[in-house]
């Protein structure tokens, strides 16, 4: 394990040095602040608290942005080092390949967590400073949102590694990563929508739809956050959905964790079969 820690340390230092952390954090903070301050400006708010509005907008932002940042960080973690030739030397050291994946994962996870916590924390701070009274429950929802945002990021880091370990060069990795992003963030749900329309709501029952949603981590994230409280789900337009989607928050979170663990494992396996 200690090898993984050393590698994680290097990744973190590297990320700090090439300002990747700064860029990611800055981007998240800027967008989160914008969304928070704009808030519900032009739309009709139906008597929900500002924090709920913020949570919904930030959650939407997360789905778009966090996977993107994660894939950007992760997509050439393996293929890039193989291509540049630094991987051979690394693997000649007492380092198991799983340590490489694990170490990089730990490092990148920290980078992402910092970006998310600082970025969204700024938004929370702004809200607090602007002096709106917010009840404890909403803050809990906010914390859930930040936490699951990080989880979502980890899912896509893991997926990025899987891509990176599988392809030959980092250009292919970049294309595949963008494909992955498009697929999970856009195409999957669009396809579901299409299927719903084509099916005329006959065979695709809510239960089936639910199961299908679990097969997409960004949908799992949405299910957790946009139905997290009556206030939030009301504003998110998902009122009355929460109770129908049978899965409880803890189940959803374990699905997300599964979505991290399985790609990581697969990435390790694929990486183990690669020759340098």
């Amino acid at each position: 394990m200690s090898a993984a820690i050393v590698i994680a340390g290097r990744e973190i230092r590297d990320s700090l040095r090439n300002r990747r952390v700064l860029a990611a954090t800055g981007l998240m903070a800027a967008l989160a602040l914008t969304l928070t301050l704009l808030g519900s400006a032009p739309t009709g708010t139906v008597g929900v608290s500002k924090l709920s509005v913020t949570i919904v907008s930030l959650a939407s932002l997360t789905i778009f942005l966090v996977p993107l940042i994660a894939l950007l960080i992760a997509h050439d973690a393996i293929s890039g080092e193989m291509e540049r030739g630094t991987m051979a030397l690394l693997l000649a050291h007492p380092v198991r390949r799983i340590d490489v994946i694990g170490g990089k994962f730990a490092g990148h996870a920290l980078v992402l967590a910092i970006a998310a916590i600082v970025g969204y924390g700024t938004a929370a701070l702004a809200l607090a400073v602007l002096g709106d009274e917010v009840e404890i429950g909403a803050w809990a929802a906010f914390a859930t949102m930040v936490g699951t945002s990080i989880l979502l990021g980890l899912v896509f880091i893991a997926l990025g590694y899987l891509v990176s370990a599988s392809v030959r060069d980092s250009r292919t990795a970049a294309a595949a990563a963008i494909g992955l992003w498009l697929f999970f963030v856009l195409i999957y749900d669009m396809a579901l929508l299409g299927v719903l329309v084509a099916d005329q709501g006959r065979t695709l029952t809510p239960a089936a739809l639910n199961a299908l949603l679990l097969a997409n981590p960004s949908d799992v994230f949405r299910l957790i956050n946009l139905t997290s409280g009556p206030d939030v789900s009301l504003y998110a337009g998902m009122a009355g959905v929460a109770h129908r989607s049978g899965a409880s928050a803890s189940i959803l979170i374990s699905v997300l964790v599964g979505w991290i663990a399985i790609p990581l494992l697969l990435a390790s396996l694929v990486f183990m079969r690669r020759e340098l």
Partner: protein
């Protein structure tokens, strides 16, 4: 299709609590044949003050589509036009409908009068005019295009 495999719930009988879809009035406030539709995962039916409204529900885009059963009053069997008796419900998909007759529906709108057999329908046509259609042939225009003529006087 799974319509046939899913156990279709049996028809309910009209009681005082049955409120018609679209107009929110009690079913008992209306005369003529009525309808009910069951959708998936809901034990209570949508009630319709007229068969016309039932078809509107089926055809409109904004209504649930996971329909498990549809029933209309068989006016061949019902003796009371104003309040068809219990036990006269038949599967709406199998019924024969007379449209364009002189008989008006529960609130005076043009009505599609359902019958369980063709003979009864033809007898009705002989008496009140109109023509015979099956469930799947019900013209969209007849149901959704609005009748801008003034409603006729209802039975008192």
């Amino acid at each position: 299709e799974d319509k046939s495999t899913a156990a279709a719930p049996p028809p309910h009988e009209v009681d005082g609590d049955a409120v018609a879809q679209f107009c929110n009035m009690s079913l008992t406030e209306h005369s003529g044949p009525k309808g009910q539709i069951f959708v998936k995962d809901d034990p209570t039916p949508f009630w319709f003050a007229s068969v016309h409204d039932l078809f509107a529900f089926v055809m409109l885009g904004d209504t649930p589509k996971a329909i498990t059963a549809l029933y209309v009053n068989d006016m061949a069997k019902a003796k009371n036009w104003d309040q068809p008796e219990p036990g006269t419900w038949i599967d709406a998909r199998r019924a024969f409908y007379v449209i364009g007759s002189s008989k008006r529906g529960g609130m005076g709108e043009p009505e599609a009068v359902p019958f369980s057999n063709e003979d009864a329908a033809q007898r009705f046509i002989a008496q009140h005019g109109g023509r015979l259609v099956r469930f799947d042939q019900m013209p969209r225009d007849y149901v959704l295009a609005s009748d801008t003529s003034s409603p006729s006087e209802p039975p008192q």
